[in-house]
């Protein structure tokens, strides 16, 4: 019974195998391929499988395990007949299949390159973004600068507009002036026949003034006996010219001082308020220039200096220098009131202020140069009429004595020198020198 059952099973298995092979040939190649030795040749196996059912007889169930091997060997033997065409096709397929991975590799490389390039691109994008931001910031800064500069531009434009408006306003005025000038010219032409008489009158007035001016120097001659007559006449002529200059100059300096005295201002800026100590070499040149100006343009210089007090104060401040002290002495020795265009009292008050400051600089707190130079100037000023009146005032005498007896040997020497010059100048040539001082009670002018 068992044998019969085994035979039945074997027949069933063979039938199943045959069905399976037939179905394989009909359905497709994929199921057969794993069973073949070469997985890379499915087409060959299918062709073989198709031919197998007819050639292979039914096999006993015992040899079922060996059948596939036999089939394979048979297939291998049969292959050369059908191979050449199929191999070529396979080779092409292989090539195609081999080419595909290369392409894949190329694609992969490309992808990798793309991936590698991506960060660079990102970096470039970041840099571009930064550059754009910087550009934006620059633009913003420029706009801000423009907005800041705008007010100036606006101001300029406004100024131009204002000037244009002023011109518009001035133009009619100028036209009016021209019309007035024309009218005045017409009037003068009408009055011309009458002018000679007026000229005569003016000439008479000038002649009278000249006579009066010549009388004034005669008075001076009486007062100053030392000078010769010829010298006096020359001086008078010079003074006359200066009188005229000064009266004009005093008015002009108030109006035109910035333009007219520009160079003189520069020269005097050498002794400016910010200068602590004057260069002695430059001070020498300064004094020479100032001396020449005093000789040539005395009136202008005096008007300028006495109208701008800061300059004279600066000169006093730097009187420790001998050259500048000489300039100061030269300025103060000028007694002509015409030079300043001031009244006598104002002029005297100005000089008194300067002399006060000079006496203060003889104090023991100052340097030896300050004391000696100021003493030298004061001694030279003793001869002049106005200064001796100032020096003879009790307050000033007391001040100089107190400075002299303060304990500083240099101050003592300076004060004694000053008083000796005062006494000697006033007692020289007189038989009774003490009588020279007995001109009035203390506190009044004695000379």
């Amino acid at each position: 019974m068992k044998e019969e059952e085994e035979k039945a099973k074997a027949t069933i298995s063979t039938e199943h195998e045959e069905k399976a092979i037939g179905s394989d040939s009909q359905t497709g190649q994929e199921e057969v391929a794993p069973k073949t030795a070469e997985a890379s040749e499915p087409a060959v196996t299918t062709s073989l499988a198709a031919s197998v059912p007819e050639a292979v007889p039914p096999v006993a169930p015992k040899d079922e395990s060996k059948e596939p091997e036999k089939k394979l060997l048979e297939e291998k033997k049969e292959q050369p007949a059908t191979a050449p065409v199929q191999v070529e096709a396979n080779k092409e397929e292989k090539k195609v299949e081999e080419a595909k991975p290369e392409e894949k590799k190329i694609e992969q490389v490309k992808v990798e390159e793309k991936k590698a390039e991506e960060p660079k691109v990102e970096e470039k994008k970041v840099e571009e973004k930064k550059i754009e931001e910087v550009k934006k910031v620059e633009e913003v800064v420029k706009e801000v600068a423009k907005t800041e500069s705008k007010p100036e531009e606006v101001k300029k434009i406004e100024e131009v507009v204002v000037k244009a408006e002023e011109k518009k306003v001035e133009e009619p005025k100028a036209e009016e002036k021209k019309i007035e000038e024309v009218k005045t010219e017409v009037k003068t032409e009408e009055k011309k026949p009458e002018e000679p008489a007026e000229k005569k009158e003016t000439a008479v007035v000038v002649a009278e003034s000249k006579e009066t001016k010549t009388e004034e120097p005669e008075m001076k001659k009486e007062e100053v006996n030392d000078k010769d007559e010829d010298d006096d006449e020359d001086d008078v002529e010079v003074n006359r010219d200066k009188d005229e200059d000064v009266v004009i100059g005093a008015e002009e300096t108030k109006n035109q001082s910035p333009r007219r005295f520009g160079l003189l201002e520069k020269l005097l800026s050498l002794l400016g308020a910010g200068v602590k100590e004057v260069n002695p070499v430059l001070a020498g040149y300064f004094s020479k220039v100032m001396m020449v100006i005093i000789e040539k343009r005395k009136a202008d210089l005096m008007t300028y200096i006495f109208n701008y007090k800061e300059h004279i104060q600066n000169v006093v401040k730097h009187s420790y220098n001998k050259s500048i002290a000489e300039v100061l002495g030269k300025i103060l020795s000028n007694e002509d009131k015409f030079t300043t265009g001031m009244s006598d009292e104002d002029f005297r008050a100005e000089k008194c202020e300067i002399l006060n400051s000079m006496i203060d600089r003889m104090d023991a707190t100052n340097t030896i140069e300050d004391i000696t130079n100021n003493c030298f100037i004061l001694c030279n000023l003793v001869d002049t009429k106005q200064q001796i009146k100032y020096f003879m005032e009790p307050e000033n005498i007391r001040r100089i004595f107190t400075i002299g007896t303060s304990g500083h040997p240099m101050s003592l020497r300076a004060s004694l020198t000053f008083f000796m010059t005062v006494i000697r100048t006033k007692t020289s040539g007189s038989s009774n020198p003490v009588a020279e001082f007995n001109l009035g009670p203390p506190g009044t002018y004695y000379f």
Binding site: P394, T405, L412, L416, I423, V434, F437, P442
Partner: protein
């Protein structure tokens, strides 16, 4: 009398004190080998100032000068600064002017001083 004379009379003791003050200055080597005390320009100036005041022949000034005993002081200065000819010349002129111009008090004071010495 002027205010200068008044002030000079008032300050006469100060001038005297200045002349009497000891000279602390260092001594100078003299050519003859010894050491000399320098007079100083300031002392010479005070002596000169006295001479100018005496030249005024103002009685009040002369009286004050004799009261303060300036003649004796001047003679002492001649002893102290025995080699200073500038000072000697000044003092000589002072005495000469005082005696020749008839300033009796001043002359008397000098004579009395010498007699007492």
């Amino acid at each position: 009398m002027t205010y200068i004379i008044e002030q000079s009379i008032e300050n006469m003791p100060k001038f005297k004190a200045y002349l009497e003050k000891e000279n602390p200055g260092p001594k100078i080597d003299a050519q003859h080998g010894g050491q000399l005390l320098p007079l100083g320009f300031d002392r010479l100036k005070v002596v000169e100032w006295l001479h100018t005041l005496i030249q005024l022949k103002e009685p009040a000034i002369l009286k004050k000068i004799t009261e303060v005993e300036f003649p004796q002081l001047l003679l002492n200065l001649m002893d102290i600064y025995d080699m200073n000819s500038f000072l000697h010349v000044k003092i000589y002129n002072i005495f000469h002017d005082a005696i020749t111009s008839g300033i009796e008090d001043f002359a008397k004071s000098v004579i009395i001083y010498y007699l007492s010495v």
